[in-house]
Amino acid sequence: MQEYLLMIVAAMFINNIVLIRFMGNCPVVGVTSSVDSALGMGAAVVFVTTMAGTTCWIIQKTILEVLGIEYLQTLVFILVIATLVQFVEILMQKVAPPLYRALGIFLPLITTNCMVFGVSVLNIKEEHSFMETLVFSMASAVGFAIVLLFMAGLRERMDSAGRVPKLLQGVPITLITAGMMGLSFAGLMGLD
């Protein structure tokens, strides 16, 4: 149990997927202008990453490794993720229309979020068991959602304060803010 707890803290903060492992930066830079959309995007990513991570793990163990075709991992995983996202979209539309209205527009964007794919590959690379895969995928995605949310809040304030120098407005100041945020997250290093 303690082992999983450590894994959650490590994946969420110490080795934060966005700030330390550099994955999923595009949405952090692009989508974070409002807290509402950051919340929607974050929830959709947690859902899809957990599903994709576990599905890819099962496929790796039951198909790729059994047949000895691990070199097709990249090709297979990305197709699995693309299909999964489509499937989730259709299912959500039928089963939970309110949820679909809230998260639907973010779903197509997630296929090319390098985090989903990256977490799936990391699970295999670090030889996680099925439970570890489940925990790691979810914790990493929550770490992503936290950064997205923090960043959206910071940006809303920075925009309304209007003190950012003209030449750093937009993407540059977002990146510098991310660097500062990364520094404070790095302060937790050593906890594991």
């Binding site: 492992r21 550099f22 999923g24 930066n25 990249t74 794919f117 993407v171 510098i176 660097g179 790095a186």
Partner: protein
Amino acid sequence: MAARIVNEFTKGFWKEIAPLRFALGICPALAVSTKVESALGMGFAVVFVLCMSNVLVSAVRNIVPDKVRIAVFISIIATGVVIVELVMQAYFYPLFLVLGIWIPLIVVNCVVLGRAEAFARKNPVLLSLSDGLGMGLGFTLSLVVISSIREILGDGTWLGMMVLPEAYPGFGFLLRPPGAFVIFGLVLGIMNVISARLENKTA
């Protein structure tokens, strides 16, 4: 025609340089820019995948139905990435170890899919090839600029050679992940200054 090919090639270096202008493909640009050597390796891998995907996407552009085009593009790109992965593992093993997970992650690099969607599916093969080459080299250039700053100021070396005096203590912050974000942001800011100056001159 020749002029257009040259134009599509050169736009990737300044006017539409992907990571710096549109914040596309910034994840690998941040991750592998600790050393110039790994930046170059990553850059050339992306050039290869981008050229291949652009040429193939443009070659099949008239037979692929619009509805399934993204799936087709992704399969083409993933095939290219698998080729790069296997070749690197066989012939450039140290580089393969340094780049690690970032080689398979070229699949989801927004620059590659972005060019397939925005350019290659509407243009003939030759133009797409020159667009892919220009965009890929532009991507490499941005990586080299950022990694040069980080390696020189962080470590005092460039491509492994000492460039600053032996006594330079090094600035470890730049080699750590937060340093990558800050340097990237500052480079973008400097680029904005230069662009603004250039526009003033022509106006």
